[in-house]
């Protein structure tokens, strides 16, 4: 500013800065409130807590409970208003402590308690209950209600996970509003009226929402309880640590709660840039897997064909020996390291060092043939907030509701509140389709043409030309290679050069893992190539770091052949899987909440992960296993503690240069890592996709929230929610093959054929067929050839 010339005399009074706040008075104290704020929030900022039940700052106020009544000086004297519905205004005088206000607040509380069963001693909420707490702080002290209380059957299940005790319900409309406004699953609502008003579901239609657990968390009484936590603990017995859910890459902030060294519950933490307090049910309830009695607590080594438990020194020595043998036989390149996306940043960093620097192999990959080329992470990265405030959100990836659920909530909100328009390209209409401004369905392999045609449309071009554009990009279909998807993304970026990209990759720390080195080095193979090399014996040793190719690799035959072909398999895992069963050495890893560290979400946001319980038996964090294995191979990585690893990360990796314990402590919402500069951006390939024979169907395979993944399969509350692996076909196409809903059909691809049950599904595009991936008992992977650009199948009635 120094070189700005001004004609104004030096002594002119500076223009007073324009006031951006509103001056109000709360109980006689002056306070500056934010424009647009509600009185209830302004009072809280001013240090006065107004009691409340229905108000929740992430949902539209409804003014139902009437608990937050205060007096506001109006033109005609003081008026009693609900502070959760009243916006602040310049000069407003608010009184929260007059006898009139006290009388009214006590009156409401007395009435809320009138019919409340007061079964606090057996209520899960007791001890953390807003009704209990506010009855003490703002209630009348004793009840004068001597009539018979309301009675209902206690409790009724409203879904597989949630129970409703209507006697305890104070009808605050939080759960119902959440279901409608936030989740878009309007499955619970009020029925009856007057004193008989109650929350309920439609008959025979359960509250089957992926987000149902949030209603339990925000219910201000113990009316809603979740089966995984019910009667497990009293709040005062719980201790907690803040952490980040690493089930998927959204990175929702949570508190991990437990008692007596056992995990009991996760609760959402309101992180403004990320999850707004919400969690999906999979993330919320899969703590059960950590507690599972199937957990691997000690290392295993294979002896005479059988895995037997052993001590760490023997296991590490055996693993080191296997690696050395492989290197001796075929050089460092005969070792491939796959995985690392399920752990912490520290885990990934240490494993990347071990792989690249100690073993010296370039064949490293955090993805399992189900992701995108790592160059995706070199693009101009968007944050979730940027996506949720963009004029246009382009979806070119998976069904977010199924794969990145809370990102779905954030983007759905952007569309519902009319901040953003969603332009969706999808081979299978899904959760976001109904909120899309335009949803463009395409047959797998033809997305480049679909994007091309869309860009030629004036309306779309105009929309993309005005305002910010964020492209949410990922893999939409596991039955095709990523090539066409990458090409379509390239097409979009060429047309909208200013667009930012939010990577829609799924595994919890996949972005951190890739950025921290769990990616192919120079001339390194990606996982598909590495598995093929293992299958033909060029890769001698497969090291699986929390990865299970037999479940996760779309091409089932490739995975099977790789696991059979690799002569040496080392698996690092917390739970047994089909792949650990074939390993020669299994190194027992500490699970989530058994270790601390950091994680990176899909935006690149680094947040902390906290340890709440001690690791099972002698299981230890992946990073420590890497360091010990390096030592066994003769290299001291100098990593003795998580702090060491974090410091080394900051020192050696530019993206993480600003990440430190102090920086993270100062920023509870996390710190954004820099977009890596050492990665080459994706390079749009030219794809040749064969035409589909009109008798065939083009296959779409994608994930559902609930599947047979270890975390879900070992969480009893969730395991049974995984649906079946039926083949979904449009009813008109089903007719064409002469089959009906529920019939068994024979499905044949170039690779294999199998029998599937058919489901008639109007959301499936004509000419395509959709099968959910990795469902219990599912065999769709058998049909997929990882090298084929698309998978065409023949469907015949049996």
């Amino acid at each position: 500013m120094s070189d700005v010339k001004t004609d104004a005399p030096a002594d002119a009074a500076p223009e007073p800065p324009k006031k951006t706040t509103l001056s109000i008075t709360v109980d006689g104290r002056a306070h500056e409130a934010q424009p647009g704020q509600l009185v209830i929030d302004a009072c809280e900022d001013a240090g006065t807590y107004v009691p409340r039940f229905c108000y929740h700052h992430r949902m539209n106020p409804v003014g139902m409970c009437r608990q937050c009544l205060v007096e506001v000086e109006g033109p005609r004297g003081p008026m009693m208003v609900v502070s959760c519905m009243t916006p602040v205004a310049e000069g407003q005088v608010v009184r929260t402590e007059t006898p009139g206000v006290k009388r009214a607040q006590e009156g409401v509380l007395e009435m809320l308690l009138a019919n409340h069963p007061l079964d606090c001693p057996v209520c899960d909420k007791g001890g953390e209950c807003p009704l209990q707490d506010q009855a003490f702080s703002h209630g009348p002290g004793e009840s004068r209600y001597v009539e018979e209380k309301r009675h209902y059957e206690k409790p009724i299940p409203i879904s597989d996970l949630v129970l409703l005790d209507r006697e305890r319900c104070i009808l605050c409309d939080r759960c119902t509003r959440f279901a409608d406004e936030v989740a878009g699953d309007k499955l619970i609502h009020f029925i009856s009226r007057g004193n008989a008003t109650q929350v309920n579901t439609f008959p025979d239609e359960p509250f089957a929402s992926y987000f149902s657990g949030n209603t339990v968390q925000i219910c201000p009484v113990g009316a809603l309880t979740a089966t995984p936590y019910r009667f497990k603990a009293r709040p005062w017995d719980l201790t907690q640590v803040e952490s980040t859910c690493t089930t998927c890459a959204v990175g929702c902030r949570i508190v991990v709660q437990g008692s007596r060294d056992q995990l009991l519950r996760y609760q959402g933490v309101d992180s403004d840039p990320v999850n707004w307090g919400w969690l999906c049910d999979r993330g919320r309830f899969n703590f059960e897997a950590v507690n599972s009695d199937q957990r691997l607590g000690t290392p295993l080594v294979r002896e005479q064909g059988e895995l037997r438990p052993t001590g760490w020194s023997e296991a590490l020595a055996r693993a080191a020996q296997l690696i050395r043998e492989a290197v001796d036989a075929g050089g460092p390149g005969s070792v491939a390291v796959l995985g690392g996306a399920r752990g912490t940043n520290e885990d990934a960093f240490a494993w990347a060092r071990l792989a690249h620097d100690v073993i010296g192999t370039p064949h490293v990959s955090a993805q399992l043939g189900d992701g995108m080329p790592v160059g995706l992470l070199a693009l101009n990265r968007a944050t979730i907030d940027e996506a949720a405030s963009a004029s246009t959100i382009v979806l070119l990836g998976p069904d977010l509701k199924e794969e990145l659920p809370v990102l779905y909530l954030r983007l759905r909100d952007a569309a519902e509140k009319r901040r953003s328009r969603i332009l969706e390209f999808t081979p299978k209409p899904g959760g976001m389709t109904r909120y899309a401004w335009k949803s463009i369905g395409y047959e797998p392999g033809t997305q480049v043409g679909a994007v091309h045609a869309a860009l030629a449309n004036d309306e779309i071009a105009q929309q993309l030309g005005a305002g910010n554009v964020v492209i949410v990009a990922g893999r939409a279909n596991l039955a095709e290679t990523s090539a066409a998807q990458v090409a379509a993304l390239g097409e979009l970026l060429a047309a909208v050069p200013g667009a930012k990209v939010l990577p829609a990759l799924r595994r919890g720390n996949v972005v951190g893992a890739v950025q921290l080195g769990m990616r192919p080095g120079k001339d390194g193979m990606d996982s598909r190539a590495a598995l093929a090399a293992a299958a033909d014996g060029t890769v001698e040793c497969l090291i699986l770091v929390g990865s299970d190719p037999l479940s996760d690799v779309p091409d089932a035959d490739l995975a099977r052949r790789a696991m059979a072909g690799a002569r040496r398999i080392i698996a690092v895992d917390a739970l047994p899987s089909p792949s650990t069963a074939l390993a020669d050495v299994v190194l027992a890893a500490a699970a989530f909440a058994e270790k601390s560290g950091t994680t990176t979400n899909l935006e690149g946001r680094v947040t902390t992960v906290g340890q709440k319980v001690t690791a099972r038996h002698t299981a230890r964090p992946d990073w420590m296993i890497a360091a010990q294995l390096a030592a066994a191979l003769g290299t001291d990585l100098g990593l003795e503690s998580e702090a060491d690893v974090l410091a080394a990360m900051a020192e050696l990796n530019d993206s993480y240069a600003e990440i430190s314990a102090a920086a993270l402590a100062a920023a509870p919402d996390g710190v954004l890592a820099h977009v890596p500069t050492t990665l080459d951006p994706i390079n749009p390939p030219t794809v040749a996709v064969p035409d589909r024979n009109s008798y065939d169907f083009r296959l779409v395979v994608s994930r559902k929230l609930y599947d047979a993944a270890v975390g879900t399969a070992h969480s009893p509350s969730l395991a049974h929610l995984a649906g079946g692996a039926t083949i979904h076909i449009h009813p008109a196409d089903l007719d064409r093959v002469g089959a009906a809903d529920g019939d068994s059909v024979k499905v044949t691809s170039k690779r294999a054929s199998g029998v599937f049950q058919a489901t008639s599904d109007t959301t499936v595009l004509r000419g395509t067929a959709w099968v959910p991936f990795n469902q219990p008992g599912g065999t769709v992977g058998e049909l997929i050839d990882a090298t084929a650009p698309v998978t065409d199948i023949r469907i015949e009635n049996l």
Partner: protein
Amino acid sequence: MSDATVPPTPPDYTQPGRVPTGPKLITTRFDQPDGYTYDGYVRTGGYTALRKALTEMTPEQVHQEVKTSEMQGRGGAGFPAGTKWGFLPPDVFPRYLVINGDESEPGTYKDRKLMELDPHQLIEGVVIAAYAVRAAQAFLYVRGEMALAQERLAQALNDAYAHNLIGRNILGTDFSVDVVLTWGAGAYIVGEETALIESLEGERGMPRLKPPYFPASKGLYLQPTIVNNVETLSNVPWIVNQSGQAFHDLGAPTSTGMRIFAVSGHVNHPGVFEVPNGITTFRMLFDAPEYCGGVRDGRSVKAFIPGGASAMWFFDEHLDLPLDKPTIDKAGSMLGSGAIVVMDDTTDMVAACWNVVNFFSRESCGKCTPCREGTTWLQRILKRILAGDGRPEDIDLLMDVSESISPGIAWPPRQTTICPLGPSAVSPIASAVRRFRHEFEHYIQHGRAVDGVVTPPIHGVHGGARIHV
């Protein structure tokens, strides 16, 4: 009060011809057997006002006539219709007209009669009003239980469509409007205009938060919306035919026109009466042979509800008040929906109070705590007292719970609730407890009513009527 004060002798209206009269405006066809049919309506001058409005008047002129008439809304709040129409934000379209035919307050049955006996008059008023406010569509919302009204309105709508009185290019003019008939599912609260709008939108009928205080700015589908009562709009054809001034010349300057009152209770001839507004007194209405013909068995009035169950009760000292909005408001009650309930001196005031409170507690939409919980609480205390299980502290408790719903228990009521339904349950309590506290005390002390009153059967309390003499 000094003994010297001689109570004035009450006027005597028991002979014919002693009460002011006026022309019938909207009940002319009540005695005409085919008045509800298209032919019967047209034969008696029907649809002339519509033709006049559409072919000779601009929408502004129609609006002006209604303004000049100063007709107060007949749905309860008594807000002048012409003024309300003027609240529509200019240039915001589409806008809607909603006709409130949900009439469900105990004792109110005037709208039902208007819909059953003269449906075309209502439809004519609706189309004229839609023309005046430039509504794209009109929605006729009829109470779920009123089967005959629905049937006759449906027939009338079909006939009106067939004669090009509704629909496209009405009577060959540029004006088009559709009228949609909907009916409720039996909830009193849906009579509250914002709950009615929610219900029309397919949502659960629960009142919306105020502000906005009038749906005129944001109503149905968040578009500008005028909600008017059935009786209000039934007057519009007459106003258009005879002029707003002619309407204004009837009744009192502060309560213009003729108005229908529905009288029920202990009178000889209960019914609906169209009387000169603002100048007729309660006593005239009760005693005149033209109207109710006296209290039954020559008994005296113990209390009466002047304007619907939500109103504060009146007593014999109020009998000579004119049915004039400002007068009644000042006296501490309201004319509301025009439903007058007369209770003679055999009435058990505790039971009467329970009856009204019970209605409101059952009809609370359940949205706000003080109404949902408070009205039921009051109802249960009253029922317990009636059952002989009252405690001395219950009388103060009744008033205190009422205070939680309506701080100050004053008139007009203040409220801790969203809509006025909650405080409606306070009116009977405040009225009965303040005036007849001894009847409550008697129940509490003796487990039964005071001598000389009749207690009706109350489910769960008595097997049948008990007469205490």
